[in-house]
Symmetry: C2
Subunit: 352 residues, 2 copies
C-alpha cells in the first residue's frame, strides 16, 4: 500500500465509497421513478446526442457525478477534488466520464503519484435510458496507479459489488466472489465458457470503404469465431457455451468476477468504465490483460496485467487448479485460446 | 374467457400460479446455494449433454418440474396432470421442457379444448449452470389456446413478473408494465431501439457446406443489419441503440413487456420458452408476430398475432400514440422495419 494511505485510512475510504455508491444508486432510481410516475406519453428523459444516437448523456448522469464529486471533496479535501465540473479531470485527480468528455484532451490521466478517484456515475447509459436494469454506479479508488477499492452498485437489480485490496470481493457485502470457489478452466475451453462481449458504438458498415477495418467488422468476426462449432472457421470455431451482451462494461467485469462469465473481451473502454470492475475482478482472483493478440509470440509467452487506460481488455474469471495445471495456468491457457480467435481492435487514445 | 373457467376460478388459479412460481424460484436458489457453499473445486453441478454442450439439463431442472407438476396435480386434479413425468406431455395437458424433450414426438401439443399449464421450470439453463442471474421459472396457464396467466420469477434478481388477462401486467406485484407509460415508437425506428436477440444452439459454420443456410449465418447477418449505421448494408443498416443478448427467451419477453427492450426477434423457441412471456407482453400492450418476413406483400399488410407453437417470434414493446399514428400503428411500422432487415430463420417442428 502507498505510504500516503494507512490501513486505517483505507478502511475508512472503503466504507465511505460503499455508502457513496449506495446513495448515488438511490439517485439513479429516484430519477427513474420520476419517469415511471409521469403522465402517459410524458415519460421521456431529456437527452442529447454525443457522438451519435448510441451515446446518450442524461441529466441524471451529470447530477450524480456532481453529487459524488462534492461528497468526495467534502470528505477528503486533501484528495484535491475540484468543484468545477468541466475542469475536474484537468485540475484534480478525479476522473469522471461526463467531465472528461467535455474536456479538450483525452490524455491518460491516472498518474501514480496521486491517490485518485475514478468514477462512472452511470455505466450503461443506454440501458438506463430504456430502464433495462443493467446499469450501475462505478467508483474506484486508485493508489500508486492501481485500483485498490471497487464499488459497483446496480440499484434496479439490488446488486452491490464491493472490493478492497486484501479484504476480498463481495456481492451485497455477504457473499464472497467468485460465488463458486476454485472452479478450474474447462479442459477444452473456450468450449463450455460463457463469452461476454458488446457491439459498441462504432457502427460503420464493414462492407463500406469507411468501415473496412472498422471495429464492428473486427468484432463480429471475433464473436462468430468464438461461437461456431469446433472445427469450423478454419479451426477457429470455439463453440462457447453462450454469448452474452449486457450493454455495461462495468457489469460485464462484475459478472466475470462473480464467475458467471468466463471471458470478457472488449475495446474502447475508458478508465471509468473499468477501474472499479478491475479492482473487483483482481481481488476475486481474475486476470485482466489486453484484448489484442500480441503479434510477437515471445511477448505472448508472458501474459501481463493490463495497463489501466489501454482501452483494450480481456478478462478471465477467477479459477481453481485442475489435476494438470494451476488456476493461473488455466487462465493463461484461456487467454491464448481467445487470442487465437479474435482480431485486433483499433482503439487508440485521441492524441495518443 | 372459456366457459370452463369462471372469473373467480381464474383469480384463484392466478394466486396459486404466483405462489408456485415463488416456491419454484426458491428451489432454484436453494440448489444454487449448495453449489456456492461446496468445498473449493467441488462446486460443479452434475449435468448431461443433450444436443450438444450448449444444451444442458440439470437435475434441478427436473426436480423443479416434478415439484410444479405435483403441486398442480394436487390442487387441480381436474386439469388432468399426470404424475408420470416422461408421459406427461402425452397423457395430460401439461407441457414441460424436460418431459417433452424426453418424449418421442414433438407435435404441437396445446389444443384449445383443454385448460393447459405450460411450464419451464428453469429458463436460461446455461445461465443457471454458470450462476449468471438471468434465469427464471416460467409458468403459463392457457385457456382456449390463449395464454391468459403468465408468471415469470427470476429469483437471483428478485424480479417477479405476473399477468392475468384483464388484470394488467406487473413487476414485483406493485409496478405496472410497461414501466413508462405510452411511449411512442421512435419516428426513425429501429434507430433509437434496443434490439434483443440470442445466438442460440445452432452453431454450424455458415462458411461450411453443412452450415450454409444454417441459422447462425442467418442470425448474424440479421444482427449486423440491425446494428450498422443508417445507409450501410445496402440501405438495411438499422443503427439500433443497443444489441442485447441475455440467454433467456422468457426474460427477453419480460423486458420487452417492461418496455426496456423495444424489439425481440428469435427462432427455435418451444411453447414453454414463450407462453408466460407472451401472456405478460400481450397484457402489457405489446405485439407478438412471426420472426420471418412474409414473402407475400399482401399477407404482410395485416400483421397477425403469432400462433403459440410456431417457433418463430418477433415481439414489439407496448407503445403509445404519437402525433401521427396510434400505438398499434407504430408497433406495426416497427415490425415492417425489422422484417426489411432480417433473414428467414429455418426452424420447423420435428415431424411437422
Amino acid at each position: 500500500m502507498s505510504a500516503e494511505i494507512s490501513a486505517e485510512q483505507l478502511d475508512e475510504i472503503y466504507a465511505f465509497a460503499i455508502q457513496l455508491g449506495k446513495d448515488a444508486g438511490k439517485m439513479l432510481m429516484d430519477a427513474a421513478a420520476v419517469r415511471i410516475s409521469s403522465a402517459p406519453g410524458q415519460g421521456h428523459q431529456a437527452f442529447e446526442d454525443k457522438d451519435n444516437a448510441v451515446d446518450i448523456v442524461t441529466k441524471t448522469d451529470t447530477d450524480v457525478e456532481a453529487f459524488i464529486h462534492s461528497s468526495i471533496s467534502k470528505k477528503y479535501p486533501h484528495h484535491k477534488v475540484n468543484t468545477k465540473l468541466i475542469a475536474i479531470w484537468n485540475v484534480s485527480r478525479f476522473i469522471g466520464e461526463e467531465t472528461y468528455s467535455a474536456g479538450s484532451s483525452k490524455d491518460y490521466l491516472i498518474t501514480p503519484d496521486h491517490p485518485t478517484w475514478c468514477v462512472d456515475p452511470l455505466d450503461g447509459t443506454v440501458n438506463y435510458t430504456h430502464l433495462f436494469p443493467m446499469f450501475c454506479v462505478s467508483i474506484a479508488f486508485i493508489v500508486s496507479g492501481n485500483p485498490v477499492i471497487g464499488v459497483i452498485y446496480a440499484p434496479f437489480l439490488n446488486q452491490l459489488f464491493t472490493s478492497c485490496k486484501g479484504k476480498g470481493a463481495w456481492l451485497n457485502e455477504t457473499q464472497s466472489l467468485p460465488l463458486v470457489k476454485a472452479v478450474p478452466i474447462p479442459a477444452n475451453a473456450p468450449k463450455g465458457c460463457v463469452f461476454s462481449c458488446e457491439w459498441g458504438k462504432d457502427r460503420r458498415d464493414p462492407g463500406s470503404e469507411k468501415g473496412k477495418g472498422g471495429n464492428l467488422g473486427r468484432k463480429v468476426e471475433s464473436f462468430v469465431n468464438m461461437a461456431v462449432e469446433i472445427g469450423g472457421r478454419g479451426g477457429k470455431g470455439g463453440m462457447v457455451h453462450g454469448v452474452r451482451s449486457l450493454g455495461s462494461a462495468t457489469l460485464d467485469l462484475a459478472y466475470t468476477a462473480m464467475g458467471a462469465f468466463d471471458i470478457w473481451w472488449e475495446g474502447g473502454c475508458w478508465e471509468w468504465d473499468v477501474a472499479a470492475g478491475i479492482a473487483l475482478l483482481q481481488e476475486a482472483g481474475g486476470l485482466v490483460t489486453t484484448a489484442n493478440p500480441p503479434s510477437d509470440p515471445v511477448t505472448a509467452e508472458i501474459i501481463t496485467d493490463v495497463r489501466l487506460g489501454s482501452r483494450l481488455y480481456l478478462a478471465i474469471r477467477p479459477a481453481g487448479p485442475s489435476a494438470s495445471e494451476t488456476g493461473r495456468q488455466g487462465q493463461e491457457r484461456l487467454v491464448r485460446e481467445v487470442w487465437k480467435r479474435v482480431r485486433d481492435l483499433d482503439y487508440t487514445r485521441p492524441g495518443a
